[in-house]
């Protein structure tokens, strides 16, 4: 059982590290996963937040690999990173560097102040990071590099070449000073000995897990989730390059393989929160988005709810007709006048007074009638008309006589069919969503516990979200029920107008 060995090793390492590094669980997690999947990690934060130390110690857990550590400055020359020029080779008319012990031969590298990289080293660096190749004179070398840990105090300024460098770091963490006094106390008073990780990872194991993960199947929900995320991020003007998406799926595969899973489950997607942001400000928004999607299995609950509400209002909107003439409620007008004469101190406060007393559409009018069946109305703008206050039925008759206007109270057959179709579709979507959420609810806690990549904080949040999703389902189902009721009724508005028709 190789895999379970690896899993235990990772758990051990994590435990060891979190005992020493306080409040750095997510970073430790991500660094390990990055190592396994061969991605690069960027640690962003103010000076003195253990960025370098953490990266350094993570590198120490690897046995059987070369390690290269260098602090970049704006004046770093290629010699310092890629090795000195070989004089021997030059004598033979060849240009090459002595790369032994430098970045091109390293398995793991730690580059401090990574965004200080200047143009003289950037090109070669980018090729090493992305293609894992180094052009040494005429020879193109395959670089054994697993991961590069970059540390920086600041994000690159607007400079295209550095943005390309930034894009190559898949995992991004922004670290800050320790939050809790107790943790700080532990750090500065208790940890007297230098930390050196006892549990080790072998390079061979990493290679094996990577091989194993390559053909791991991906659950269908993940496709939906990722597609939905991409759309949503695009809408909020966050653009993720195609390269990153490809890498992300690769990482998810490795994570699941290391966990001993047979396929990539959607709980692993929570890891995406450390891979999608460009600016630290976006972190929280993206995290919320991801957790939401993970819980709902890809269904956008907000959109589903909105769609249901839309359908509901569309049914009424379909019945909305413009009245041929304004109808105003005399009863309300009088009441308004009464209250207004006492309450109105200034002309300006009375500005919006006549808003709800006149109706220009049938919908407002009918709703008002249903609410206050006893009110009387005047037709037309002419306020002299107000004296001849009419009840609802006579208004209807008046409109019919004067303008040949008929109220539309129910959907006709074709419309009804359309609405029913749309309704069924929504119902199916809700059913799917419900199944998705409820099927996993019982096993959820275990699933989360068993997944080594999901942090305790994330799992708690996911559990809470699950519960709120149930409320969502309940709410949406209620709206659907209402729509069902309206569609089943022969008429949307239960108002009798037939007798008037005969009279006319």
């Amino acid at each position: 059982m190789k895999v379970s060995n690896l899993k235990n090793t990772i758990l051990d390492i994590k435990q060891e590290f979190s005992a020493y590094f306080k409040e750095r669980d997510a970073e430790i997690n991500g660094s390990l996963l990055a190592l396994l999947s061969g991605e690069h990690v960027l640690l962003l934060g103010p000076p003195g937040t253990a960025k370098t130390l953490l990266a350094n110690k993570i590198c120490e857990t690897i046995v059987g690999g070369n390690f290269f550590h260098y602090l970049l400055t704006r004046f770093s020359t290629p010699e310092e990173i890629f090795g000195p020029l070989s004089l021997k080779a030059l004598e033979r008319d060849e240009f090459s560097r002595k790369i032994d012990g430098y970045l091109p031969t390293a398995h793991i590298a730690l580059l401090d102040e990574i965004f200080k990289a200047n143009s003289s080293i950037l090109n070669s660096l980018l090729t090493i990071l992305n293609e894992r190749k180094y052009h040494n004179g005429k020879v193109v070398l395959d670089v054994p590099l697993f991961s590069v840990f970059g540390a920086s105090n600041e994000l690159p300024e607007e400079d295209e070449s550095l943005e390309a460098l930034y894009d190559r770091f898949l995992f991004r963490y922004s670290v800050d000073y320790i939050q809790h006094d107790e943790n700080l106390e532990d750090l500065i008073f208790e940890n007297l000995e230098d930390f050196s990780p006892l549990t080790k990872l072998a390079v061979g194991d990493i290679r094996e897990i990577r091989k194993k993960s390559r053909y791991l199947p991906v659950d269908p929900e993940i496709r939906t989730i990722i597609k939905g995320l991409r759309r949503e991020l695009k809408n909020s003007s966050i653009f993720i390059s195609d390269r990153r998406w490809k890498k992300i799926v690769n990482v998810l595969r490795v994570a699941s393989a290391a966990n001993g899973h047979q396929s990539v489950s959607r709980m692993t997607v929570v890891l995406l929160q450390h891979m999608l942001w460009d600016l630290p400000e976006q972190k929280e928004t993206i995290r919320k988005l991801i957790l939401d999607r993970v819980v709902s299995g890809g269904t956008d609950t907000g959109k589903l709810k909105q769609d249901v509400l839309d359908l509901k209002s569309a049914i009424y909107g379909c019945l909305k007709q413009e009245l041929p003439d304004l109808v105003s409620c005399t009863k309300c007008y009088e009441e308004e006048k009464k209250t207004a004469s006492t309450a109105r101190h200034s002309r300006f406060t009375g500005m919006k007074s006549q808003k709800n007393l006149t109706f220009s559409s049938t919908l407002d009018f009918l709703n008002h009638y249903l609410e206050f069946p006893k009110h009387t109305y005047g037709v037309g703008l002419d306020y002299n008309n107000l004296n001849s206050s009419l009840n609802f039925d006579s208004v209807v008759e008046l409109l019919r006589r004067k303008y040949a206007f008929e109220f539309k109270l129910s959907l006709d057959y074709g419309e009804k069919k359309l609405y029913e179709k749309e309704y069924e579709n929504l119902e199916e979507r809700l059913d799917y969503f419900r199944r998705q959420v409820q099927a996993e609810e019982r096993a959820l806690e275990e699933t989360l516990e068993e997944n080594i990549w999901v942090s305790a904080q994330d799992s708690r949040e996911i559990l809470i979200k699950y519960r709120s999703k149930n409320t969502d389902i309940y709410e949406i189902a209620n709206h659907l029920k209402e729509i069902r009721a309206v569609l089943e009724k022969p008429k949307v508005f239960d108002i009798e107008l037939e007798t008037m028709g005969e009279a006319a």
Partner: protein, 549 residues
């Protein structure tokens, strides 16, 4: 301070109605709506078009949204919707593909795009008509089939039949896709290998390869889509200004509903006041002077510039020996490396320090910003009648102009002592309803200049947006500016903030002491002969129709 007799400029009588030219600068609808570089269709789809798209039709909802997205991009982004993968597009959209290509051929398409670029709201209206036409054509083809065949030449019958078949196939493919349960199937209609999709694609391709297709399709599109659009466009053209005003007053608002609710009360007003302005060049001149150019705070910033060389920035490759790294010079010692040195020098590959420096740079865009405006409007009873109309039209014109230029406006209505009401129209807050209410209302009450100036002063000192604003004072002058401390304070703040006050006195030749604080005073003595007869009724009907079937 100016003496009463020596006013800046006096317009004894504003000239009467004069012919109105569309191309006059003040009302020219320039492209006021600039799109960001990353054009985002979702915003339009989820706000303005949402109500329209959610109304059920034969075409299923996801497809309605997808089609709308393509068209929104095509019409509003200023670029064509580029079809990157024709096969996928056909698999997904079927008959919509040839329709789109055919529509692009019509002249009205370009007009539509131009209109949408200059006036967003009008563009949205037309887009709705367009979508309506397309959805009807695809979804309810059976119902309109007879009509179409009747008007067409006999030799196209066969092609039309093919079109019908394609439409039917498209519809059923869409339906099937929509009703399928599994989410990954539902949301990725173009998943390769789905036989249904491939069938749709090959059918579409075959249909388009037919030589008569173009002719038949053009005829159908012309009749069902292009000519109704043209008609609608010509109606819209007369009312672009009003639409623009509404869209500025209610940015991002669900359009169909707001118009339905607003048009009865407000359209007439807007039209009335706007047309008044058109007829008077003198009023326009006053407006021209309003607002001034000022430098936006912080637009200049320290910037790294290669032109200044006072600081070592980083290491780079070049052939400049004077900034060369010492490590290169060492190479000259060794005969072998010496050659390498010269080779590097010729290729510009010596390691050298890059010198740069910080410079005060100013961005060309956004350097100059025109200032905000506060309009103080006298709403006393004595303003009733033509002064009121004039005041409203000036305020409307000012607001319109300012909003169009992205400047902030605040209208302060004042009357008797301690009575004032503020209508703020900034990026943060658009009190559109209140503004329209103001146009709708009748004036009544007293006049107190002191109150007015005090509230203006308060806005200027307390609100950051309006610091250094220009003030437009509109009144009939039947009051007296009496509080000396207030005048003094005003004059101080004017000097400090570099603000100006314009006074527009309507129907009186006495400025009531306002000249003590004003930079420019305009007086309109005679306010007779202002009349507006145009009726907006025709337009209201035209907009109402396509939105609700």
């Amino acid at each position: 301070m100016q003496k009463p007799g020596n006013r800046g400029r006096i317009y004894s009588k504003l000239s009467g109605p004069e012919p109105f030219f569309k191309s006059e600068p003040f009302f020219k609808s320039e492209s006021s709506f600039k799109f960001d570089r990353d054009f985002n269709t979702a915003k339009v789809l989820n706000t303005e078009l949402r109500g329209f798209l959610s109304t059920p039709r034969q075409v299923p909802r996801p497809l309605r949204e997808d089609i709308a997205e393509v068209l929104v991009y095509e019409i509003f982004s200023g670029k064509n919707y580029e079809i990157k993968d024709e096969k996928r597009f056909m698999e997904k959209f079927g008959v919509f593909y040839p329709l789109l290509l055919s529509m692009r051929n019509f002249r009205v398409w370009e007009e539509l795009k131009a209109l949408a670029a200059s006036n967003r709201m009008a563009g949205l209206l037309v887009l709705k008509t367009l979508l309506d036409g397309i959805f009807t054509l695809i979804g309810d083809y059976e119902k309109i089939e007879e009509e179409i065949t009747k008007n067409l030449q006999k030799n196209l019958e066969k092609t039309l039949k093919a079109l019908k078949e394609l439409i039917e196939e498209t519809c059923s493919a869409w339906d099937e896709r929509n009703s399928r349960q599994n989410p990954e199937n539902r949301e990725s209609p173009g998943s390769p290998g789905t036989p249904r999709c491939e069938k749709l694609e090959s059918m579409t391709r075959k249909f388009m390869e037919n030589e008569k297709t173009g002719q038949a399709l053009d005829a159908v599109v012309e009749e069902r889509i292009a000519s109704p659009l043209e008609e609608f466009l010509s109606i819209l053209e007369d009312h672009l200004e009003i639409l623009e005003m509404l869209s500025m007053l209610f940015p991002g608002r669900m359009w169909s509903d707001s118009l339905q609710a607003l048009h009865r009360e407000y359209f007439g007003n807007l039209e009335k006041y706007a047309s008044l302005l058109r007829k008077s060049s003198d009023l326009r001149k006053i407006l021209e002077q309003m607002g001034r150019i000022e430098l936006e705070y912080g637009s200049k910033k320290l910037f790294l510039s290669p032109h200044s060389k006072n600081e070592v920035h980083e290491v780079t490759f070049s052939s400049e020996i004077q900034t060369m790294l010492p490590v290169e010079a060492v190479k000259l010692k060794n005969p072998l490396l010496k050659r390498k040195f010269y080779a590097d020098m010729f290729e510009g590959k010596l390691l050298t320090y890059q010198l740069r420096g910080k410079n005060w740079n100013s961005d060309a865009a956004g350097k100059k910003r025109r200032g905000p405006v506060i309009a103080l409007v006298d709403t006393s009873a004595s303003m009733r009648g033509s002064p009121e109309i004039l005041a409203k039209s000036v305020v409307l014109a000012v607001t319109r102009r300012m909003l169009k230029e992205g400047r902030d406006v605040k209208v302060i209505l004042f009357a008797s002592k301690w009575q004032s009401f503020e209508i703020e129209m900034t990026n943060k807050k658009r009190m559109g309803e209140e503004f329209l209410d103001f146009l709708h209302q009748t004036f009544g009450g007293g006049t107190d200049f002191n109150t007015a100036l005090r509230s203006g002063l308060k806005v200027m000192t307390e609100e950051n947006t309006f610091r250094g604003a220009d003030i437009l004072f509109i009144t009939d002058g039947y009051s007296e500016l009496s509080e000396q401390p207030l005048i003094r304070e005003w004059n101080e703040i004017k000097k400090e903030r570099n603000a100006r006050i314009f006074s527009l006195i309507i129907g009186n030749d006495n400025a009531g002491g306002l000249e003590q604080v004003s930079d420019n005073t305009y007086i309109i003595r005679n306010t007779e002969n202002w009349g507006v007869w145009e009726s907006p009724a025709r337009f209201v009907k035209a907009i109402g129709a396509p939105v609700y079937r």
